[in-house]
Symmetry: D4
Subunit: 228 residues, 8 copies
C-alpha cells in the first residue's frame, strides 16, 4: 500500500471515530452464509453489527453464530448490539399509514442503533388531519423529523410548514397503479412547496435514519469546528 492510500484509509477510520457509525450490512441479495460471515467480521472489528433488509434465513444464520442477535421481521433489521449507548437528543419518526411502518421502523431502529433517542408518530397521514395536528407539539421537540409516506406523499409538506427543523422525507412504494412503485410520492416530496424538506430514495428508511442521526448529533455536540 502506497502513501496515498494510507492517508485515505486513515481518514476513513477517522470518520468512524467521529460519527460512531459502525459499517452497516445491506443484506439483500446475500446468502445466509455470506451474511453470517460478514456479521462475524464486523462484530470482531467493531464489537457489534447492524444489518438491513434481512430475511429470516439470514437472521437464523446469524443467530446461530450470535445467540444475542436480534431480528425484527417488520423492519427487517438484524443486529448484534452490545455497546452501552446513551441515547442523545431527539428524532421524530413520522409515518403516514400502517403500510409505511416497515420503512419507518427501519429508519427509527437505525437511528436508535446509532445512539439517538427516537419518538414514533405513526398513522398520522393527512387524510385525517387531526391525527397529525394532535401530535405536532410533540413532534416539534425533535432536532430532526423523518417523514415516511407512500401514495401521494403529502405528509412531509404539511409537516414542513409546521416545524422549524429539517424534515427528511422518505417516499415509500406503498400504493398501486399510478404510484408507479413510489414515483408519485418521490416526485411530490421533491416538489414540496414547504421549506426544509430533503428527500432520500424510495423505501430508504436506513438512509433517513443515518442523516437524522448526523443532524441530531450536530444539535447535541455542535459542528466539526466546535468539537475540534
Amino acid at each position: 500500500m502506497n502513501d496515498v492510500l494510507k492517508d485515505f484509509v486513515r481518514l476513513d477510520l477517522d470518520r468512524k471515530e467521529r460519527t460512531g457509525c459502525a459499517e452497516v450490512v445491506y443484506c439483500a441479495g446475500k446468502t445466509p452464509e455470506q451474511t453470517a460471515e460478514i456479521f462475524r467480521r464486523l462484530v470482531e472489528a467493531e464489537g457489534e453489527a447492524l444489518g438491513t433488509r434481512a430475511q429470516k434465513e439470514q437472521a437464523d444464520a446469524v443467530l446461530k453464530l450470535f445467540p444475542d442477535a436480534v431480528y425484527d421481521p417488520l423492519s427487517k433489521i438484524l443486529k448484534v448490539e452490545r455497546k452501552e449507548k446513551e441515547s442523545i437528543g431527539r428524532i421524530a419518526v413520522c409515518a403516514a399509514g400502517t403500510s409505511d411502518l416497515p420503512v419507518a421502523e427501519e429508519a427509527a431502529q437505525t437511528a436508535e442503533f446509532f445512539g439517538n433517542k427516537v419518538d414514533r408518530f405513526f398513522d398520522i397521514g393527512i387524510s385525517g388531519l387531526h391525527r397529525l395536528l394532535g401530535t405536532i407539539d410533540e413532534i416539534r421537540k425533535a432536532s430532526c423529523v423523518i417523514a415516511v409516506a407512500g401514495m401521494e406523499g403529502a405528509m412531509p409538506s404539511v409537516l414542513g410548514g409546521l416545524v422549524s427543523v429539517p424534515v427528511i422525507a422518505v417516499p415509500t412504494s406503498v400504493g398501486y397503479g399510478a404510484n408507479f412503485q413510489g414515483l408519485s410520492a418521490l416526485l411530490a416530496m421533491l416538489n414540496s412547496c414547504a421549506n426544509g424538506i430533503s428527500v432520500v430514495n424510495i423505501d430508504n428508511g436506513y438512509g433517513a435514519g443515518y442523516i437524522a442521526s448526523q443532524i441530531n448529533r450536530l444539535a447535541e455536540h455542535g459542528g466539526p469546528e466546535k468539537r475540534s
Copy 2:
C-alpha cells in the same frame, strides 16, 4: 342524412337543453379571424359564447365584432354573455398558490358562465395550513369543491379529508425541475389517500368547472329520473 343520424343529432340537442351548456371554444391554435367567426356563429345560434385559452389578438378580433365581449387576461377567458342567469347552488374553487390562479379562474369563470354560484378560496396551500383550516367552514357549504394545485399537489388530499362532497382535483404545471410540467401534481392527486377525489388533465380548469357545474346542478335539481 339518414335516420340513424337524426336520432343522434337530436340526442345531442336534447343534451344542450338539459345541461344549459352552450358549446365552448378552445381558442388555442386558432387565428383571430377563425376565433371571431366561430364566436359569430355561436352567438347567432346560442345567444352567447364562451371561449377558453384566448390570446389578446383573438380577444381583439371578437371585441371588434361584439363590443360587449369580455376578456380576462388572467384566466384567458373570452366571452359574450347575454343571458340572464340565476346563479344556483354553490361551488368552492380553491387554489394552493398565486401561480395557480389562471387555472383556478378558468374553472371559476366557466362554472359561473354555466349558471353556478362560485366561492373563491385562493392561496390556501398546505405549507401554511392555517390558511386552509381558516376557510374550511366556508368551503364545506359547497356542493362540489374544485382544488387547484401545482408542485406536490397535496391540497386536494387535505381537502378530501375535511369535506363530504366530491373534490375535483386540477393539477397545474406550476413548478420546475422534477415537477415535469405537472406530472408530480397529477400523480399525487391520482394517488390520494383521501376519499372523494377525482382528477382532470393538467391545467384543465375548464374541465373542472364543467364537472362541478354538472354536480352542483344535480344537487339543485336532482338526477335525470327526478327531473323527468
Copy 3:
C-alpha cells in the same frame, strides 16, 4: 388531547354522520389476523364493515369471526353488512370488457354498500359500438356514470358525449405491452375530448364507487346548504 384536536376529531365524526360511509378496510398487505381484528373493531363501532382487495385467507379469518360476512372472489370485496339500507337514486356502472369486471364490481358493490341503487352495463366496449348504443337510454337514467376500461380506455370519451351527468372514469391495468400496466388507459381518460369526465387511479374501483355515491346522494338530498 388538546382543544385543537377535539375540534378536528369532532369534525371527522360529523362527516361520517353526514355521508353514512363507515371507514373502509384496504386489505392488501395485511395478515389474516390483522384483517380480522380491524373488522372486529369496525363492526363493534359502526355495526358493519366493508373491505376491499381481500384475499381468501383474509376472508376466512373474518368469516370465522362473523359467519354472516360475505366474500366475493371476483371483486375481492369482503363485508359484514347488517344495516337496513334503502337504496337511493341510480348509478350506472359500465365496463368495457369482461377482464374489467373485477374493477367494475369493486365500484358497483362499494356504491351498493353505501346505499345506492346500481345498474350494471358490462362488456359494452367501443370496438362493438352497437352494444354501448343499445344500452345508452338506460345509462342516461343514472345520476352518475362510472366507466371502467383498460387498453386504450376510450369508452369514457364515447359515454361523455352521450350523457349529461358526470362520468367517473376508471382506467384498468388490463392489456399488455405498451399499455404499461394501465398507463395507456389513464392518459387517454385524462385527455378525453368529451366534457364531464374525471379520472381516478388505475384499478381504483372503490374510489369511483365512493365518488359516485357522493354525487348520487347530492342528486337525491341536495347540497350541504339545502340539507342544513
Copy 4:
C-alpha cells in the same frame, strides 16, 4: 462500385418503377437554398417532386425555381406535380378535430400525389358520435382508412370496429398536459381493442399516406405475384 452494389442499386430502381413513388423531401431543418437545390435535382430526375414540412421561406425558394410549384401552408406540403395521374381506388382520410387537419391533409395530399383517390372525413371525433356514424357508409367504400386523432386518440378504435379494411392510425400531438406531446394518443392507438389497426409515428401524416397508397394499389392491381 462492385457487383454486390450494382445489384442493390438496381433493386432500388426496380422499386421505384413498381411503386411509382418519387423520392420525397423532408424539408424540416434544411435551408431554403438546400431545399431548392434538392427539388431541382428531383424534378430533373423524376419529372416532379414532393416535399413535406416545408416552411414559407423554403416554398418561396422553390417557387422562384419552379413557378408551377404549389405550396399549402396548412399541410406544409410543397410540390411540383407535372405527371398526368389517373387517381385509382379510394382512401378515406378521417380526422377527429379541426386541430388535426394539418396532419390529415399531409396524409391526404401525399396519397393524392402518389395517384390515389382520397375522400376526406374531417371533424368526426367521438365526443359527438353522430358525426362519425353519419359518414360511416361513405368511409366503408375505401380500401384503406387513415384515422388521425390527438388527445385520447380513440377514433381509430371506434372506426376499427365498423370497417373491414386496414385502419392506419396517426396519433397527433394535439392536446396539452398529460397528452405529453402525443404520447396519450400513441399509446391508445397501440392498445386498441379493435382489430385491424396499425400505427405510425406521432404527426406522421406522410407515412400514413404512403402506406395507404401501398394498400390501395394492392387492392387495385393485386400483389407482387399477380402482377409478375
Copy 5:
C-alpha cells in the same frame, strides 16, 4: 331494441360475412372452464374457433370438449379448425431471432387460420445481414410483410427499404435492461427512416396477422367497391 341498434348489429354481422373472420378468444386471464365455454359457443355459432395466449390448462379443457382441437405451446395458439379453406395470396412472416418465434408464430398461424398462405423467414436478424439478404427475393413475393423483432427492432427498417408492399412491424419484449420490456423496439419501429412501416403493440402477433390478412385479401379480391 330500437331501430338504431338493429342497424348496427346488422352492420357487424355484415362485417363477419365480408371478412370471414370468426371472433377470436384472447385466453389470457380466463379460467379453463370459461375458455372451454366460450369455445363451445363459438364453435356452435361459427363452426370453428381460434384462441390466442392459451395456457396448457385451458387447452386441456377445450380438448376434453373438442378432441380435434389443436394446441401449439410455442405460439400459445389454440384452435378448433374445421372449415375447408383455400389459402390465398402470400404473406411473409419474418422474425429477427429465435426468441421472437412465439410472436412470429402467433402472427403466422392467425393469418393461416383466416385463410392466407404464409411463408416463414425466421432468424434473419440484421446482425448477420446475409441471412436477410439471402431470402429477400422470396420475401418480395408477398403482398404484405410481417416483421417481428425485439431488442433494437431494426429489421423492419431494413426490410422497408427492400420491399414495395406494407410492412407490419411487431416489436417484441425480447431483450433485457434498457429494452424496457419492448419499448426500445417499439420506439425504433415507430421512428423508422424507411417508408411503408406501421406498428402494432408489443408482442401483438395476432394483431399483425389480422391486418396482414386484410391486406392480402384486398390484393386478392380488390377493395370494397370492386367487390360490391
Copy 6:
C-alpha cells in the same frame, strides 16, 4: 376567525421568530409591479426581503423602490438586506462545474442571507479528482455540505464518503441529451451508495441553502429542547 385558526397563525409567527427566516419571494412568473409590491410589504413587515429567480426587469422595479436593493444576475438573487447579522457556523457550498454556479450561488447567498457563514468550493467535479481532494480538509470544517452537480451528478457520492456531516445534494439541469433536464443527476443522487446524502429538487439552490441553514443553526444553538 375561530380559535383553531388563531392557534395556527400564532404557531406560524412563532416559527419565524425561532428560525429567523423572513418569507422569501419566488419571483418567477410575477410582473415587475407585483414583485415590487411584494418587496414593499415584506420590507415593511420584516425590515428586509429576499427574492429568488429574479429577472432584471423585476430587479429594476425593486431598485426604484429601494435604491439599496442588491441584484446578482448570476444567481438571480434580489435582496434588500438591512439587518445586522452575525454569520454563524460554517456551510460548505461545493459545485462540480462552472455551469452549476448559478444554482450554487443561489444556495450560498440564501444561506448567507439567513445568517450563516459560507465557504465556496467551485469547479471541483470528479473528472479531475485532485481538485476535490485538494479542498477536502477545508470542506470538512463545515457543519453541512451543499453539493451542486449536473450531468452524472456523482460529486455528492464522492463527498459523502469523505465527510461526517449531512450532504444536501442539488441536481442541476446542466447537460444535454440523456440528462433529460436534470433527471440523470437527480436519480444518481437519490441512489447514492454513500451515506448521509439527501436530495432537493433539480436546480433548487434556495431549498438547499434553507436546509443547510437549519442544520448549521442546530449545530450552533442545539435542538428545540436545548433552546427552550
Copy 7:
C-alpha cells in the same frame, strides 16, 4: 444461394478468422435440451463454445454431453474451452460493489475466453475512495478498462478522469426504488463529465468483455491496415 449472398457469408467467416471469436450462446429462455444441442453444434464447428446467462439445469444438460464443460454459478458463464490460448495484453475489470460481481465476472470471463489477460479490481466503489485510488496504478497498466457499477453509477466517471485508455461502462440493475432497474446508473454513465467513457446495456457484462477484447487486440496487434 445467389452471388450477393456468397459474398456476405464469406465476409462473415472472414470476420471470425480475424477476431477469433466463436459465436456465443445467450442461454436465457432456452430449454436445457436446446442449450445442449446448440453447444453440440458449436463445439463440433468451432472446437469450443461459450454460453452466457446459463441456469443450472442448462449447465447439467451440457455437462452430460461434455463432461469437461465448466459452469460458474456466479457469472452464469457456461463453457467448453479446449483451445490453447495465449492470453494477450491486459484488460482491467473494475466493480463498484460485491453485488455487481455477477456482471463483472461475466465481462471478465468473456474477455478471458477470447484470449485476453484480465486483472480484476472489485469492491472499489467511490463511497470509499481510497479503495479505488489504492489500485489505480495497477488499473493504469491495462489497454482497456471495464467499469461495472449499479446505483448511482459514478465509478466510471472517476476512473475516466484517472486513466488514458477507453473505459467501457456497464450499468447494473443493482439497487432499488429510484434506480428503476438500472436506469439511474445508465443515465449517469451516459452523462459522464469525464472523457473516454462509452456505455453498454444494463447488466451487459458480455458486451463489455467483447468490446474490451477488440480494443486489447488492437493494442496488441494493431489495426486492420497494419495487419493486412
Copy 8:
C-alpha cells in the same frame, strides 16, 4: 496543498502528456468574453485550443483574439490549431442521414484535432442498404468506427455485424414525435443485437471522437505496458 494532492495533480499532467489531448472547451452557455478568455489561457498553456458547440458570437470574439482561429458553423467546432500533427491510423465516421452531419462532423473534427486520420462515410442510412454495403470495404480499413444515427438508430447494429473493430454509436436527436429527442435511437443502440457496440450520449459527437482517438492510438502505438 498536501502530498496526496501533489500526487494527483502530477498524474493529471502526466495524462495530458500521454494522450496528447489538450483540454477542450464546451462553449455552450458561456458568454463570448468568457469563451475568448478561456481560449486565450489555453493557447498560452497548450499552444492551441479546441472548442465545441460554439455559436457565431463566440467565434467572433475568439477570432478577434486569434485571427488564425477557424470556425465551422456546421459542426460548431471552433479551434486554434497550430501544432504540426502527423495524422495516424484510420477512423471511420459514418452518418445515417444528412441531418446527422453536425454531430458526425463534431466527431470527425475532434478526432482530426487529436491527430487521427479520419475517413467520412455520410448518408449511408439503412433504408437504402446499398449505400452502406457499397462502402463497407473502405469502412473495414479503420481501427475504430463511429456510427452516427437518429430516428430508429439502426445503422450501428448493421455495421456491428460487418466489421471486426469497435463501433462507437452516437444517437442523435434527429427525428420527431416518438423519437423523444433521441431516446429512440439511444435505446436502439443500447439494445443492439450485434457485438462490439458501445454508446455515448445523444448528440455527443465530441465524446465519440475522443474515444475513437484513444482506440486508434492504441492500435498504432500499443497499450500502456508496451509503451512504457
